[in-house]
Amino acid sequence: MAEWLSISDVRKKISESSAEEVTAAYLETIGQSRINGYTCTYDGALEMAKQADKGEGEGLLAGVPIAIKDNISTKGLATTCSSKILEGYVPPYDAHVIERLKAEGAVILGKTNMDEFAMGTSTESSCYGVTMNPWDLERVPGGSSGGSAAVVAAGEAPISLGSDTGGSVRCPAAFCGVVGLKPTYGAVSRYGLISYANSLEQIGPMATCVGDIATVMDVIGGYDPRDSTSINREISYRDALVDDVKGLKVGVPEEYFGEGVDGGVEKAVWDAISKYEEMGATWEKVSMPNTKYALAAYYTIAMSEASSNLARFDGTRYGPRNDGENWHVMASRTRAEYFGKEVQRRVLLGTYALSAGYQDKYYLKALKVRTLVKQDFEKALSNVDVLMGPTMPMPAFRIGEKIEDPLSLYLTDVNTVPMNLAGVPCISVPCGLSDGLPVGLQIIGKQFDEATIIRSAYAFEQNTDHNKARPAEVI
């Protein structure tokens, strides 16, 4: 099959045949995949599709297949965070978002590949091996939700869920030429999302078009009493699908076009901004002076939280276990063998940043920077409706190009981490190609103002052809 389908395309196919046939076709496509996007497929998928067929189209996503990032807990389906340390772990419960998807009739196709514990920008740190970018199999799909973006780009799922701690939805969306949204912190329940850095991350949808992002958000968004950070607000995301940006005020932070931004990326983004002007929006330059500190603050906070979040993986309750003469030796040997290099690096750095005598210098200072970054957004967004810039400073890089140099890999997150520090919503939409590789336009909004960024992205999609470009793997 391998074709790009929107939710409405899928529903049309279901009405012509059945959800079961549609799911079976997807599973067949996945079976022939060359991109290694899935860590496993769900053996209950066809049964779910049959149930959807019986339900006669009840539910917003009745019979619509979806791919789930491997760090979102799925009852009865292995959830490993692409880590050896969770090998064989099958959650006894569903994440909130999975419950919501099931309630709306969605069909879970399987779990998608990711950087181990979502720590990465390329999906190269997965214990299952890298996922290939459907636009160029020698390139990374981005990360950490590389699998979720790549399977949508390759036509192996119409929609997927990723998680975004510092750009992990938007980066792979940009690299794979699909749409990806990071919701406002608190808009989607994290219950069941295996934590990397709790104070930063959100589950977010990925799809071939903006409309599908809104539909999935209508399913997964909303209050969940099991997540204390979840916010009780009624929002209809689909209501924001309006093709009108007349009078929209766009802010363009100069800091997002800093050193090292690829020429093709820069051009595509400026062309997009011109397009907005043509469509009736205005734009102005804005300043986000603390952007340059955001990356360091982000990594300090993320690693600190991660060092604590990952402490539970000690070989006692799940996953493989190495023996030792006592429990501490056992736990230590288990962690040394089954955590990958990048995870170990971040746990060690995070432990250091939190330790007595260093906490003031690193962790607490990073929290102060976080407040400053937040203020940058509040200030800039008090004058404009949205901010725009390149999601990633470059298109997808080659597999192996950066993995041996963690610092250069960290630097690629420079335009995506400030939003996680501030908790603001942001979306990446395709805005053209650079040397045949997709470029993502990032649109950032005020807290809980997903409506404006969805409307902006939707109007852009309706008035351009960028969304019609297809990767080699699909053509």
């Binding site: 760090n71 979102i72 807990s73 959830t79 965070c81 969770l86 772990y89 959650p91 006894p92 419960y93 994440a95 994290r190 219950y191 069941g192 999302l193 295996i194 934590s195 850095a197 709790n198 104070s199 009493p225 099991r226 997540d227 204390s228 950070t229 600190s304 939280e305 060092s307 604590s308 990952l310 402490a311 539970r312 993986f313 000690d314 006692t316 309750r317 429990w327 501490h328 736990a331 432990t351 939190l354 330790s355 007595a356 906490q359 962790y363």
Partner: protein, 473 residues
């Protein structure tokens, strides 16, 4: 008299109290009634720390903590703030304990105890909320066990850690403080001290000329007294021999009654405390007035009321209010029987008999003691017989009247006693003469004779009075 504390003993206690009367755990909906349950049956993704599960604070836990704080005269914090205390141990399923750090729920209170020299104030530094870990179990002894088993039923239970200033000056004062604390907590109905592991104590002990030593793993009030006593002796001996008491943590070996060094200051853990990102601060200062209002009458107030309302002695009032169940028991009895008699019979006799048998007040009914007191007040049985009835009910069972009838304890009629008096005078002329000659002791012999003739059913005092009257004539 002022206690001069010759060795400069300073004792501060950290008491971990399990809020086992709440219905659910601290961060999840699991039941707290696990004490007789199979291992790992009262667990869920949250208290098992499964990947992805998130905590939600139990409002009742916060309210209970605030209740305790107010009862200990503490100030309440503006808003809750939880921290993670990071350390590795198999009973800790998340690899960190959710606790409070620089913003404890309550701080700065006091408790008044009966000290070495009268009323003594123990200042409360703070009390903070935290979760209980699971429990390790071994098959047989630790040394011989083939492995360690973990029961997570306890994991996630609400704990409150009450930290005192080093204001206690003797093991006895420490014990009194613990007793008082338990008493107050039970009054608040947040805690049942009879359940295993419901109150765990760490003790900081220092004497003049030495540094502070922390003694961990004390599980009873008696144990605390013993551990502190041992620790003071150890420190004194060490200093006397020219040694130094260094900052360290020691472990109390309850079986041997000794403390053993665990780690010195240099080996202290770095817990890397940082704010728990999964729990948002909750503003609680506004709840204070309503919770203050809901506080029940506390032991000291109740004691004063018992004295004024029932006219009982201070000693009795203190004994009766030292356990909420006894106090409640007494009030029921006092409402249906003579309050002063009730004070004596419950505080002295019944409590004594129960303590002797290691039984709780729940082992006796208010109906039975009311009936027994009635029989004594109406002079149907003697006080001695009443004690016999209580003992029999405790040891054998039965109702007061059954016991009285079965044992023939009903006081005999007056004329039978009069007859016994006459007979005794006639039959013991020598004793009568001795008595009349001024030997008071002989009267006791005659009373004994009357008692013998009535098979003990006569009231000794009455017999005595009748004898004196008869011998005057």
């Amino acid at each position: 008299m002022v206690y001069d504390n010759p060795d400069g003993v300073m004792i501060g206690l950290e008491v971990h109290v399990q809020l086992n009367k709440l219905n659910t755990k601290m961060f999840c909906g699991c039941s707290t009634k696990y004490h007789d349950a199979e291992p790992n049956t009262h667990v869920c993704p949250v208290c098992l720390g499964l990947p992805g599960a998130l905590p939600v604070i139990n409002r009742k836990s916060v309210e209970a903590a605030m209740k305790i704080g107010l009862a200990l005269n503490c100030e309440i914090v503006e808003q809750t703030q939880f921290h993670r205390k990071n350390y590795y141990y198999p009973d800790l399923p998340k690899g960190f304990q959710t606790t409070q750090y620089d913003f404890p729920i309550v701080s700065g209170g006091k408790v008044v105890i009966e000290g070495e020299d009268g009323e003594h104030v123990v200042r409360i530094t703070r009390a903070h909320m935290e979760e209980d870990p699971g429990r390790l179990m071994h098959m047989g002894t630790i040394e011989k066990s083939k492995g360690t088993l973990i029961d997570y039923n306890r994991s996630g239970m609400s704990l409150i850690e009450i930290v005192s200033e080093p204001d206690m000056r003797s093991p006895k004062e420490a014990r009194r403080y613990l007793d008082k604390l338990r008493n107050i907590l039970e009054y608040l109905d947040v805690f049942d001290g009879s359940l295993e592991g419901s109150m765990r104590v760490d003790s900081n002990v220092s004497i003049m000329g030495g540094q502070r030593v922390e003694v961990k793993n004390i599980s009873s009030h008696k144990g605390a007294e013993r551990a502190i006593l041992f620790e003071i002796m150890r420190q004194k001996n060490l200093l006397r021999r020219g040694g130094k008491v260094v900052l360290e943590t020691r472990h109390f070996d309850e079986a041997r009654g000794v403390t053993i060094s665990m780690r010195t200051k240099e080996e202290e853990h770095d817990y890397r405390y940082f704010p728990e990102p999964d729990l948002v601060p909750m503003r609680v200062s506004d709840w204070g007035p309503a919770i203050q209002e809901s506080l029940p009458e506390l032991p000291d107030t109740k004691r004063e009321r018992f004295i004024s309302q029932y006219g009982i002695t201070g000693m009795h009032a203190k004994a009766l209010t030292s356990d909420i169940r006894v106090a409640d028991f007494f009030e029921i009895v006092a409402s249906k029987a003579d309050p002063r008699a009730a004070g004596t019979w419950v505080a002295d006799v019944l409590r004594g008999e129960l303590n002797y048998r290691n039984l709780a007040i729940t082992s006796f009914t208010t109906e039975d003691i009311i009936e027994i007191i009635g029989l004594v007040v109406e002079e149907k049985i003697t006080e001695k017989s009443a004690v016999d009835v209580i003992r029999t009910i405790l040891d054998v069972g039965g109702s007061p009247m059954d016991v009285v009838k079965e044992k023939g304890l009903l006081k005999v009629e007056g004329d039978i006693v009069t007859q016994a008096v006459s007979e005794s005078i006639v039959e013991n002329e020598e004793a009568v003469q001795d008595y009349l000659g001024g030997t008071e002791k002989s009267l006791n012999f005659l009373v004994g004779q009357v008692m013998k003739k009535t098979k003990g059913r006569a009231d000794a005092r009455q017999a005595r009075e009748l004898l004196i009257a008869a011998l005057k004539d």
